[in-house]
Subunit: 347 residues, 4 copies
Amino acid sequence: MTSDAPMQLGMVGLGRMGANLVRRLMRDGHRCVVNDVTPDAVRALEGEGATPAFSLEELVERLEPPRAVWLMVPAGVVQGTLDRLVGLLEPGDTVIDGGNSYYRDDIRRARALAEHGIHYVDCGTSGGVWGLERGYCLMIGGEPGPVERLAPVFRTIAPGTGSAEPTPSRTRTGGTAPHGYLHCGPSGAGHFVKMVHNGVEYGMMAAIAEGLAIIRHADAGLSARTADAETAPLSDPEAYQYEIDVAEVAEVWRRGSVVGSWLVDLTADALARSPRLDDFSGRVSDSGEGRWTVLAAIEESVPAPVISASLYERYESRGLGEFTAKVLSAMRSEFGGHAEKSPGAQS
Amino acid sequence: MTSDAPMQLGMVGLGRMGANLVRRLMRDGHRCVVNDVTPDAVRALEGEGATPAFSLEELVERLEPPRAVWLMVPAGVVQGTLDRLVGLLEPGDTVIDGGNSYYRDDIRRARALAEHGIHYVDCGTSGGVWGLERGYCLMIGGEPGPVERLAPVFRTIAPGTGSAEPTPSRTRTGGTAPHGYLHCGPSGAGHFVKMVHNGVEYGMMAAIAEGLAIIRHADAGLSARTADAETAPLSDPEAYQYEIDVAEVAEVWRRGSVVGSWLVDLTADALARSPRLDDFSGRVSDSGEGRWTVLAAIEESVPAPVISASLYERYESRGLGEFTAKVLSAMRSEFGGHAEKSPGAQS
Amino acid sequence: MTSDAPMQLGMVGLGRMGANLVRRLMRDGHRCVVNDVTPDAVRALEGEGATPAFSLEELVERLEPPRAVWLMVPAGVVQGTLDRLVGLLEPGDTVIDGGNSYYRDDIRRARALAEHGIHYVDCGTSGGVWGLERGYCLMIGGEPGPVERLAPVFRTIAPGTGSAEPTPSRTRTGGTAPHGYLHCGPSGAGHFVKMVHNGVEYGMMAAIAEGLAIIRHADAGLSARTADAETAPLSDPEAYQYEIDVAEVAEVWRRGSVVGSWLVDLTADALARSPRLDDFSGRVSDSGEGRWTVLAAIEESVPAPVISASLYERYESRGLGEFTAKVLSAMRSEFGGHAEKSPGAQS
Amino acid sequence: MTSDAPMQLGMVGLGRMGANLVRRLMRDGHRCVVNDVTPDAVRALEGEGATPAFSLEELVERLEPPRAVWLMVPAGVVQGTLDRLVGLLEPGDTVIDGGNSYYRDDIRRARALAEHGIHYVDCGTSGGVWGLERGYCLMIGGEPGPVERLAPVFRTIAPGTGSAEPTPSRTRTGGTAPHGYLHCGPSGAGHFVKMVHNGVEYGMMAAIAEGLAIIRHADAGLSARTADAETAPLSDPEAYQYEIDVAEVAEVWRRGSVVGSWLVDLTADALARSPRLDDFSGRVSDSGEGRWTVLAAIEESVPAPVISASLYERYESRGLGEFTAKVLSAMRSEFGGHAEKSPGAQS
C-alpha cells in the first residue's frame, strides 16, 4: 500500500519524545534534520547521526522540498512556532503537529496554512518514554494526500503488527490500524482521538488506583475509629482486618486477569520500587486532554460520568475543592451550631 | 384525630438537641423527667422546670407507667443505654430513639424489646440548633399503637401546619405530614426516611457549595496559569475575569429563585459573617446517614450518582483519597519517566 | 438609593415569562410597550393596558429615548433580534437580555452594541411561572450606569425584602440583594451567576429525586429478585420491606427539616397531584445552563462532581448512554462468551 | 517452593468455567472427579478423561483423603452445596470456593467448616472463557497450610510466568504473583481482592466505553439539533463533523498506546464482528462484585467516584433511574408550568 522508502524529516523539539522519535526514525534508515531551542540537544542528536539545525531557518534550508517538519513542542508554543515556520516554508510542504494540541486549534491552523499552500497534519502520539523501544501509537488527522505521503515515517514510528496478537474476528484486510497508526479523518481528527484516548487513560488509571486504595485500606478495622456524633463507627470492623500486599496484587493482576493492561504493568513496576508509594505526594496533574474530553462529551450530549470523575479526582488531589469544602463546613456550622470538627448536633 | 393532652416524657441525653426538645415540650405543658451522664446538664434543666433524674433507675422510677423514654444520645451509645433500660422498664412502656441510629439496628432492637413487652419507636429528628424555635421535622417508625399514643408529644415537637404555606394541590384531608411529623411505617422506617433525608441534604449542600465555588473562581483568568507540558493554559482567560461577591449571590438567591431553601438561607448567613470563609479549614465530616443512603441505593439498584458524589467530596476534603492519588502519580511517573510535578512527557 | 419613579419599558417576547413580567411591571405603575412574533399575544396584553407594537420598528418608535428594551426570547433567537434592533435604536438606548443566553455571548454582544453607543445589560431571571406572584430573582451584568438607571424596573420585578426573613448575621446596610436583585459585575456576570444558579438547581433537584427514589424502592425486598450468575441476590431482603408514601415524605420535609426548600414544596405539590408520577415519562431535558456550568467548572479547575452527575443523569434519562452501554455489553460478551442477558460466565 | 506433583481434585459445577478448569487441570496431569446437577455435563467430561460423580456423595467417595473439593457454582447456591458437603467430608479435607462469593460469607463459612475440622479456601478466579488457553488469574484466601498444599493445582490453573514480561523493577525473588496466583491473606482475602478486581474491571470498561461513545458521536454537528427553550443548540457544530471508524480506533489503541489492555483487545474484536454493535441492546448486568466494591470503599472511607459511576452507569442502562427521572420531570413541570418535553419556561 505504501512505499517504505526512507524519507527525510525535520524535527522541531528534542525533548524526550522528540529525541526518541528521531532515534527510532534514524534506526530505520530515515534522515532527520533536528532543531531545538537548546543547542546542546541538537548537538547530542548530531552525535547520533542527525543533521543539526540551530534555527528554524537552517532547518527549512536543509530539508529538500516537499518538506516534512514534525513539531514535538509543548502545546503552548505550537502557535508561535507555526507563525515563524509559515514564512519559511513553501507550497507543498507539510507540517506535522505531533504534540498534544487541542483539535480545534488544528482545524483553525490547517485552514491558515492552506492559504499558503502548506499542508498540516495533526498526529496524536502515545507511548511515553517507552516508545523508543515499543513504538508509538499514532492517531492522525488531515488531508489524505500528505498523510499517505508520510506513511513510511508513520510505519517506522508505530509499533508494527508484530507488537500484538491479531484480533481474531478481524476479517478486514488492509488498513493501517493493525500496524499501530490510523488516519482518523480530516484536520483535528487525530488529536480528537488522541484527546479521548487520554480521557480513557484517566478513567482507567483512576479505576486501578481506586481499586488498589480499597485493597490497601482493607485493614480499616484494625485501627480504632472514634465514634462521636460526627462520625459513625465502622459497622463491621471484623470485615476489614486484611493487610494485603498491594504490590503483589498488582503483579498477579498482570497475568490472565480481565484487568491486564500496560497500566497495570506500570503500576506493578512502580510498586516494586516503592511498595508504599512514599516517594509520591499525590498531587496529580492534568494536562488538557482529560478536560477537553469531558467538554466534548457534554457538547455531544454523551454521558461520561467515569471520565469526569477521574478528572475531578485529580483536581481534588491538588486541593482545588477547598472553597467548596469550606462552604460545606460553614453550612454545617450554621445548622449544627458548632465549630468545625468538634462534636456536634444532628442535622 | 389525636388528643393534645399533656404527657409525661423521660429524656435521656441532654445535649443541645435533647435539652431543646425538653424545653419545647415543657413550653407546651408536657412534663419531662431528664437524665444525662453529666449531672450539671440535669440540674440546668431542673432549673427550667424539669424533674431531675441522676440515673436511669431514677428516671424510670419517676415516670408513671406506661412510660415513654426518649433517647437523644450518640448512635454509638444507644445500644448500651437500651441494654440497661430493658431491665428497668415494664411491659407496655415505650422507648423512642430520637437520634441518628442505623435503621437496621432499629429492626433488631424493636424485636429484642418486644420480647420484654416493651415498645420501640424510631424517630428521625431534623432541625439542628434551630429546632427549639422552628420545631423539628419528625420521621417516625414503629407499631401504630405506641406511635399514636405519643401523638401529643410529636405535635408539640413538630413545627406545625402554620410553618409553611399549604401545598396547593393537596386534596387529602387528615394525615400528620402538614403538621411536620409522619409515621412512615414499621420499625426502622422513621430512621430510614431520616437517613435518606440526610443523603438528600448532603447532595443539596454539595450542589450549592460547588456552585458558589464556580462563582468564586470566575476570576480564574485574572491570575496567570503556568503553561507547561503538564498543565494546559486556560483557553479563554478573558471569559473568567469576574470578581463576584459570593455572599451577595447567596443573599439574592434567597428571594424568588428556584434554589431558595433553608440551606441557602444558612449559607447566606455564614457568608455574612465570614465572606471568604477563612474561619473554616474545609475538612467536612460525615456522620453515617450519607454512607447508609448510598449503601441502600446500591442494594436497591437505584442509581444515586449525585448523593454518592457528595459523600466522596467529603471524603476528599479530609484527604482520604491520598493513596489513590499516589498510585496515579506513580503511574504517571512510570509512563512519563519523570518525577511528580516536574515538566514531563506526553502520554 | 434609587428612585422608584415609574419607567417606560419595551418588552420583546410575550411568552409566559415575558407576559408575566409585563403584568408585574404594569401593576406597579410602569408603562410597557409590547411586541411578539404572534400578534394575538400582543393584543392580549394590550387588553391589559400595554401599548401594542406589531414590529420592532413600531416598538422602538413608541419608546421615548433613552429607550430600554427587554428581550425575553429563546436563546436561539436573541442574536437575530439584536441584529435587527441595532439598526433601529439610538446611542444611549439600552437592551436588556432577560433570557438564558450564554454569558460569553453577552461579552461579545455588549462590545458589538457599544460600538453603536447602545448599552447592553444581561439579566438572569429565575422564578418560573410563579414569578408573577412571588417576584423574580434577578442576576444582572453590565455597566453600572445603565444598570442603575433601570433600578425601578428591577425593584418591581424582584420579590422584595419582605419575601424572606432577614439574614440574621447580615450587618451590611445597603445592597440590593435583600430586595432580590443583584448587579453581579460587568457584561456577562448576570448570566454567569444565573447559569451557575441553574447548575445548582440541577444538583438540588437530583439530590431530592434520588432520595425519593431510594425511599420509593425501600420495598425492594418484597419482590423476588432472580439469582443467577449475572445478578447477585439482594443480600438483606428483610431490610427492604417498607412501602413508604413518598408524597407524604415530601410533604413532611417541607416543615422544619434541613432540606426544606421551594423545590421540595414543588415536589410535594406534584406528588399530591400524581402520587406515582404516572403522568411523566421521565425524559428530562437540559437547556444549556447545566452544561455551561460544568464547562466553567472544568476550565476554572473547580471539581464539580455533583453538578456534573446531575447533568449526566438527565442525559441518561433520554437514552443518550446507549452506545456506551452497547460497548459494555459487547465487552462482556467477549470475555464471558455469551449473549447479552443470558446467564454467563464469571469475569 | 512447592511440589508440582499431580493431585486429585473434585470439581462441583461444570459450567463453562468449571469444565474448562477441569480440562486445564487434566492436561497437566491432575486427576479430576467431576459433578454437576446436569448429568450430561458430567458425562461430557467423563468422555475427556474425568472421573464422573452423579452426586455429592459419589464425589466424596471417589476422592482420596485429604480431599480437595472445588466449587464452581453460582454464588446463590454455594451455601446449599456447603451445607450438604459438610456432612460428607472428613476432618482434614478442604473445600475451595472458586466462584464469586461475597468475602464476608467466606469468613463465616470458614469458621463454620473449621468446627468440623474442614478447611475452607476462597479463590477468586478471573479469565472468563479464555482461561482454558490463557490460564486464570487466582486470588486466594485462607489458612496457609491448605493453600500451600493446593499449590500444584494453582500453578496449573494460573497462566504462568511466561505469560507476561517480567516487571523490570521487581527485585523480590520468590512469591507466586509472577506465576499468576497469590495467597492474599486469611479467609475472605481472596474474594476481597477478586471483588475489587471486578470493581476495577467495571471502571476500566466504562472508561473505554465512554471514550468510544465520545468518538462515535464526534459527528454530532452533522445532524441538526432542535433549538428551543428546552434545548440549547450545539454551540460549535463545525467542531463535531468527524465520522470516525470506532472499530479501527479500538484496533489502533492495541499497539503502543497507554490504554493497551486485554479489554481493548476484546473491544476491538467485538467491533470487528459488529462495527455498529447493532447486535447488542445495551442492557448491562452487574453481578455483585461491583456493588460490594463500592460498599467496601464507603465503609473504609475511601473515595471511589470512578468505580461508583461505572456501577450506576450499568443501573441506568437497565432503566433503573426511572423514578428519579420522573421526579425531575415533575419538578420541572411545576416550576415551568408546562408538560414534559413541550417548550417551556425558564427556571
